[in-house]
């Protein structure tokens, strides 16, 4: 029924099967939307936030999706600014994943502010002394960049591309994409960093407080670095999951391996920097404020020292070692393990920097207080996942997301394509037939 919309040379599942899949994801989406409206209409009392925890679960989800969405800006930087042409096979998908991550992040913020109709206040009545203002500015602008990068992909749909204006618009946008990609990298550097900066400037929270350069604490640079290192791993992870779901190879190995190799080196350098930062904090900074390292990790079931070892060693050094070596990244099982660990590591880092900061007691009369989110928080945190699945499914079905898919999975042409090709052929045949008559 919808074969005229499906890209040329590729095969898709029957429409009923596609709609069934969308329907299943749609039910989860509606659950999240219901929780979202509860938060908007009844207020933030729908969450379990309290005097200890001023951030709901979705703030962790917000920071995590922004970190893993960093694959879009870093892949774009490598492709358009550093000229890594092999990445053209995966850049579309990186942009789509980034678009989903950043639109989800903005949606989460719209829930968090409680009054989304007043969201524009942050632009008009900006507090220029707040790092979160910088985050809001750069996040919104970068979402604009991702939308601009996603539009040419939509315009390449078979039917839309037939309209001359849209055909040329997509072509022109491709031509100047390097300008947009450079702007996106600039914006990403600052908003990724400022999210880390928010934690680093909290001098009342010795677990998070760091020194730094000028107004930027070290956490500013560590957040940007980790997003650039682990974002591409998330792009590879989602690509591999998509390949498993559709049962096809979608991206050539050399593109995946190049991205994995760059991620591996970025991850190694980030892990070394994180280790130095942690060492200095544990031995110099925290003691200068009257704390020892174990004050931040003991006497509770959730935040033991294991969390620090897991983040730096298991989710940092291990995936870096696998991805850096040709043998490691060429082995499918090792690659799966490495990219999964890297993504888990950056999500764990954001968890620590959002929730553990508030769990650690800072006053002598304080206790460790663990946080249990309400179902509304869980539902609104799962909401972006369902939304992402739906948008990926629709984009995969109707847009040429993977340029190598037809080449990697050759098929017989669909009836609609054959009919289309035949409708183009007659003028040429007529011309050839007319020549003898003219002669």
């Amino acid at each position: 029924m919808d074969s005229a919309l499906i890209p040329k040379g590729v095969k898709r599942c029957p429409l009923w099967q596609f709609l069934l899949f969308i329907g299943a994801a749609g039910i989860v989406l509606l659950w999240g939307v219901y929780a979202m409206f509860l938060c908007w209409f009844k207020g933030l009392n729908q969450t379990n936030m309290n005097d200890y925890y001023g951030f709901a679960l979705w703030i962790w989800a917000d920071l995590a999706v922004i970190a893993v969405g960093g694959g879009a800006f870093f892949t774009g930087l490598l492709r358009y600014i550093f000229g890594k042409d092999a990445l053209k096979n995966i850049i579309n998908y990186a942009v789509l994943i980034g678009f989903i991550c950043y639109s989800s992040a903005l949606l989460i913020l719209a829930i968090d502010i409680g009054q989304p109709l007043r969201g524009w206040f942050i632009f008009w009545h900006a507090n220029v002394h707040s790092m979160l203002t910088e985050v809001a500015f750069c996040l919104s602008c970068y979402f604009g960049v991702l939308t601009i990068e996603y539009i040419p992909l939509i315009l390449e749909n078979r039917q839309i591309d037939k309209v001359p204006f849209f055909h040329h618009l997509g072509h022109n946008m491709h031509e100047v994409m390097a300008v947009f990609a450079a702007t996106g990298a600039f914006l990403s550097f600052f908003h990724q960093g400022s999210l880390g900066g928010v934690a680093g400037v909290l001098f009342g929270r010795p677990f998070a407080f760091r020194e730094g350069i000028f107004i930027w604490p070290w956490t500013f640079f560590l957040f940007t670095w980790s997003a650039a290192a682990c974002g591409p791993c998330f792009t590879i992870l989602v690509t591999k999951i998509t390949e498993k779901v559709v049962g096809k190879k979608l991206v050539k190995d050399y593109a995946i391996e190049l991205l994995a190799k760059i991620s591996g080196w970025m991850l190694l350098t980030y892990t070394i920097a994180k280790f130095i930062d942690t060492w200095y904090w544990a031995t110099v900074l925290a003691p200068s404020q009257g704390f020892t390292l174990m004050d931040f990790y003991t006497n509770n079931p959730l935040y033991g020292i294991w969390i620090l070892i897991t983040e730096i060693a298991i989710c940092g050094l291990v995936p870096a070692a696998i991805l850096m070596t040709p043998k490691g990244r060429k082995n499918p099982v090792a690659l799966w393990i490495a990219i999964s660990l890297a993504v888990a590591g950056v999500c764990l880092n954001r968890w620590v920097m959002v929730l553990q900061i508030m769990a650690v007691p800072v006053m002598t009369f304080d206790n460790w207080v663990l946080y249990f989110p309400s179902w509304q928080e869980v539902a609104t945190t799962i909401l972006p996942v369902a939304y992402g699945v739906i948008l990926i499914a629709i984009s995969y079905r109707y847009l040429p997301v993977f340029p190598n898919e037809a080449e990697l999975n050759p098929i017989e042409p669909l009836p609609a394509e054959e009919a289309e090709e035949k409708s183009v052929e007659p003028p040429v045949d007529l011309e050839l037939e007319l020549k003898p008559a003219e002669a």
Binding site: F123, W124, H125, A126, V128, H129, T133, E134, F137, C138, C141, G144, V145, I148, P164, F165, F166, H167, H168, L169, H171, N172, M173, V176, V179, F180, T183, F186, L187, F190
Partner: protein, 52 residues
């Protein structure tokens, strides 16, 4: 926020923050305007040459 708003103060914070925002928005705006106008011109040329 613009310099003509009552909250505006001519200090480093406002100039850097708001300057950065308007700088980024200007690049995106000019880039998209260029693409749209050029696409309209190219499409109008195509109408005169259907074999493009």
């Amino acid at each position: 926020m613009f310099p003509f708003n009552f909250e505006w103060i001519w200090d480093m914070g406002h100039v850097v923050f708001m300057g950065g925002l308007w700088y980024a928005l200007t690049i995106l705006g000019i880039g998209m305007t260029y693409c749209i106008i050029k696409a309209a011109i190219d499409a109008s040329k195509d109408n005169g040459d259907p074999h493009h």
